[in-house]
């Protein structure tokens, strides 16, 4: 067996690894088409799994079948003798550091001593065909001594009895016991008996959120090519090229400048590509064999190969006056971080600081912690700690409204934050915060028509094509929710972005080239970069340079930050290029105008009209400038009180969900999911709506179907047969209302868009199911048996 290709090209799929040039009149505020759209619909866009190199090998990892075990021995002898096998590597073969990690370097590149979760990589193979590699893996003999897994909160918090996931002397962060990170937030008087006495009405609830998977469609994959200088060129699907390199290079024992990364096509991310997956393994195998090595995960391996959304257990207590004003909130949020730290500390920071939601509450006491356990590692997923809290506080608000006899939307509006409000961290919201207005917008939308039992299309009912109902036993419900999310990296982190913009004349036309290291994962950042260049430089033709590590960091494509941060960097670089062009004209022609702009390829003075075309002014000269964009500084939250100016920007989205529930079978059909969001400024309205609908649908998945099921730390459903994500039949029409209230601190006044809709979608849908059924439903996803009680 050998996989060969009739093509003679060196790396197949070079089209999007080169520049893409498109011409369009639209700047910001328009919706020009994606520059990569044509390649994508023709099947010619090279995703990381499509790459092919002459003479390349296939890499594959052997993974632990146990969630907790000692490794007594690893014998690779027989695997190495298989025909077609080029290398079999274990931790002993690692030339540099044995650990990596996003925030805390606690994860072995290949396990040694112990495995701490089901699916942890123990050994890797390079072979001439994936099947050869699979068979070689089966020949590796690993002797394990299985240990009792530490999987429950009670076990984790009692290490004296149940043991440690990491021995305390191994800790590389600020962990203690089996707690990776904890954060308190205390404001006002905190919560004590005196404060409780001020409330007329109290609701207490315990809530659970299951472990959700990002389930991006493009599997983890990439191609590592050994270079003549002893370095490695890695073509990879990731969310942050530079931080991948920071983690990969030390393990390879190479300086960072010898590890060069280029972004290959990325098939979705949603947080799941913030951590490394196959990067180090492919590079180690390429280093050892001297050949290009491609690794492509199967869907099953993908479930083991990336971190998930933290499952959460939360206790919330709210007190209010009898007229509905919130008096206090007490919350304890326990997040299961799994075997390795990943982004757990930052997720705890978000869960705690955003735990109150978009409400003014004078007295607050919160504790959020993330645990080390032998469950799958959890880290970044769209919504990042704020999703879990939102399900709890929005359920609490519904219950409080019921207890007060108030309308749930009016209760929320009565307590909603607005510009100038203090959050419990002490941070004042210094930009528009139209929470009450967003709720009103979704409430005022016309409701979908009632179920028409005389003209039924069963495809529109719960159960749909399964033919489970012809209208009998179907009950409709409506629910509302709203959420609070931050934008950008927080707590003192300077997640700056870099952009390079080059302006020159090509083929008789001025052309702007934009070069960043931004990971385009589908969100449409490359479209927006072109729009910004057109707006600032008055050109139509824009070239998007491939994203790579030849330019400075663009930070991560996460935290709803890329348009704000790297878009902001493109704006700064384009403005600098524009000023340089004006200076060129001033020095050449002695202009003294202070009212210059670039419009339609010409330099225009507001007072004197058109001065010169950019083509004539530039001649054969190119202006090529690079700029960094830093957001305003933040500070870490105080460890004991949670006080501090911790977040860059806040963002808000509200949902109204309408559901039909088959109360006999427990099946749910979401009939409509309406959203209203303030985006500050919609740089590309088509993409903004796409982000809101996509994010809302992931919230729908968490509400009614998505959960990784574990037993003793072992994953029971690592496939799309058993882990369900919404299909087009599960997903309803989604009207979207956009507000554009500018944030004075942000480029163009924009607000990060991607995550906020994932927060409130879930509680709105569950609220609607409660309205239809009268059930408490304190856990997501809601399963049929939770509705039928069977």
């Amino acid at each position: 067996m050998s996989a060969r290709n009739s093509s003679t090209r060196t790396i197949r799929g070079e089209k999007n690894l080169q520049e893409i040039t498109t011409a369009h009149p639209d700047g910001i505020g328009g919706s020009p088409l994606r520059p990569d759209g044509t390649l994508k619909v023709k099947g010619e866009f090279a995703y990381s799994s499509d790459l092919w190199h002459e003479d390349m090998l296939w890499g594959m990892a052997l993974r632990s079948p146990h969630s907790h075990a000692k490794i007594l021995s690893i014998d690779t002898t027989e695997a190495l003798t298989q025909p077609g096998v080029y290398a079999v590597l274990t931790h002993e073969d690692i030339p540099g550091s044995k650990y990596y990690g996003l925030e805390i370097q606690d994860q072995p590149a290949l396990a040694f001593g112990k495995v701490r979760y089901h699916g942890e990589a123990v050994a890797i193979v390079a072979a001439d065909h994936p099947e050869t590699a699979r068979r070689a893996l089966a020949k590796i003999k690993v002797e394990y001594e299985v240990l009792p897994p530490i999987t429950t909160e009670e076990q984790c918090l009692d290490p004296e009895t149940h043991g440690y996931v990491h021995e305390p002397h191994e800790y590389r962060g600020h962990a203690s016991g089996n707690i990776v990170h904890s954060q308190k937030v205390v404001s006002g008087l905190g919560v004590n008996e005196d404060v409780r006495a001020m409330a007329d009405v109290v609701v207490v609830g315990e809530y659970e959120v299951g472990m959700q998977d990002q389930a991006f469609l493009g599997p983890e994959s990439g191609l590592a090519v050994p270079a003549e200088d002893g370095g490695i060129d890695l073509y990879i699907a990731t969310q942050w090229l530079h931080v991948d390199r920071e983690q990969v290079a030390p393990v390879l024992g190479l300086p960072e400048n010898k590890v060069r990364l280029t972004l290959a096509g990325v098939g979705g991310a949603f947080g799941g590509r913030e951590d490394l997956s196959m990067q180090i393994h492919a590079c180690l195998l390429a280093q050892r064999t001297g050949k290009p090595v491609k690794i492509v995960y199967s869907r099953e391996e993908s479930f083991f190969g990336h971190v998930h959304r933290h499952p959460a257990k939360m206790r919330y207590e709210h007190g209010a006056t009898r007229d509905g004003k919130l008096v206090y909130m007490d919350a304890r949020i326990v997040l299961d971080g799994g075997a390795y730290a990943s982004a757990s500390p930052a997720v705890v920071g978000n869960a705690s600081s955003l735990s109150v939601g978009p409400y003014e509450i004078p007295n607050v006491n919160v504790l959020a912690i993330a645990l080390y356990s032998n469950n799958p590692s959890c880290g970044a997923m769209r919504g990042f700690g704020a999703v879990q809290a939102c399900f709890a506080y929005e359920t609490q608000l519904d219950r409080l409204a019921a207890k007060l006899g108030m309308d749930p939307v009016e209760l929320r509006q009565l307590n909603a934050v607005s510009q100038g409000s203090h959050l419990p961290t002490g941070q004042v919201i210094d930009a528009p915060a139209p929470v009450a207005e967003l709720l009103q917008k979704v409430k005022d939308l016309p409701l979908p028509p009632a179920l028409d039992t005389t003209h039924l299309d069963i495809r529109e009912l719960p159960g749909a094509l399964s033919n489970t109902s012809h209208g009998e036993g179907i009950v409709r419900g409506v629910g509302y929710a709203v959420g609070l999310k931050n934008v950008g990296f927080s707590e003192g982190f300077d997640d700056y972005s870099t952009a390079r913009v080059r302006l020159e004349v090509i083929g008789g036309e001025p052309v702007a080239m934009v070069h960043t290291a931004m990971a385009e994962v589908g969100q449409g950042g490359v479209t927006v970069h072109g729009q910004i260049a057109r707006t600032e430089l008055g050109v139509e033709r824009v070239t998007i340079h491939p994203a790579n590590t030849e330019v400075g960091s663009a930070g991560s494509t996460s935290a709803s930050r890329q348009t704000y941060m790297t878009g902001g960097a493109v704006k700064l670089a384009a403005e600098a290029v524009r000023n340089e062009l004006f200076n060129l004209g001033r020095s050449r022609y002695g202009w003294t105008y202070n009212d210059l702009s670039l419009i339609g390829g010409k330099v225009v003075s507001a007072s004197a009209g058109v001065l010169i075309s950019m083509v004539d002014l530039l001649g054969d000269q190119a202006i090529d400038l690079t700029r960094e964009h830093h957001h305003r500084p933040t500070v870490p939250f105080d460890k004991e009180t949670g006080q501090g100016f911790g977040h860059v920007q806040y963002t808000f989205c509200a949902h109204r969900a309408v559901v039909d529930v088959d109360v006999e079978l427990g099946l749910v059909k979401v009939v409509e999911l309406a959203a209203a969001q303030d985006v500050g400024k919609a740089l590309n309205p088509l993409s903004v709506i796409g982000q809101i609908q996509g994010g809302s649908t992931q919230g729908l998945g968490l509400a009614v179907m998505e959960e990784i099921i574990t037993r003793d730390g072992k994953v029971r459903n690592p496939s799309f047969t058993d882990y369900l994500i919404p299909t087009i039949l599960d997903t309803p029409p989604q009207p979207v209302e956009i507000l554009e209230l500018a944030d004075p601190n942000a480029p163009y006044g924009l607000r990060g868009v991607g995550e906020a809709p994932t927060l409130s979608s879930t509680p709105a849908i569950v609220s609607a199911i409660r309205a239809a059924t009268g059930l408490a439903l304190n856990r997501v996803p809601v399963r049929p048996e939770h509705i039928t009680g069977t």
């Binding site: 050998s2 044509t38 065909h129 869907r299």
Partner: protein, 163 residues
């Protein structure tokens, strides 16, 4: 083994094919046709959908040897000529139905088949026809728009021709 078949209107031949390989693997790794995608390789996501003798199939579930002497049409072969786009492809770009794009090739083939069979599908028809194609980015609303747009454009083209 050697497999000989017709791909996108051209005779092709793949050598050294292991008996356990799927049509998807053969297309992607041996024939330079990586447009069909490998999101689950177990027939759940539809990203690998191709026409086999005119019927849409998950190419991950078809053994490579099964296509001997048969006709396969992939996303790379949807448009009539190299430079142009099929109306379905153009509609997906125009409607904003492409984000990461990994589901797109499979959805394009499935939509193309739907509109061949039913030029003016209802929304429920569209949802039923595309229910085997997972998309994680868009929430499907823009995909619905794209199918409606492609249907409208194809029907107006057809009526112009008939006039």
């Amino acid at each position: 083994m050697r497999v000989t078949f017709n791909a996108n209107g051209r005779p092709v031949e793949a050598d050294d094919v292991w008996e356990g390989e799927s049509l998807l693997f053969m297309l992607r790794e041996r024939l330079g046709l990586p447009g069909s995608k490998n999101a689950c390789e177990q027939g759940e996501c539809g990203s690998c959908t191709v026409y086999l003798d005119g019927a849409p199939v998950c190419s991950c579930l078809v053994a490579a040897g099964q296509v001997q002497d048969r006709e396969v049409r992939t996303v790379e072969g949807l448009a009539d000529d190299e430079s142009g786009l099929d109306p379905v492809q153009q509609a997906f770009i125009d409607a904003g139905a492409v984000q990461c794009g990994f589901c797109t090739p499979g959805l394009l083939v499935q939509t193309h088949d739907l509109l061949e069979r039913e030029p003016q599908p209802s929304d429920s028809d569209i949802r039923e026809a595309l229910s085997g194609n997972l998309c994680r980015c868009t929430g499907y609303e823009k995909i619905m728009d794209a199918v409606r747009l492609a249907s409208a454009r194809k029907c107006s083209d057809a009526s112009e021709v008939s006039q």
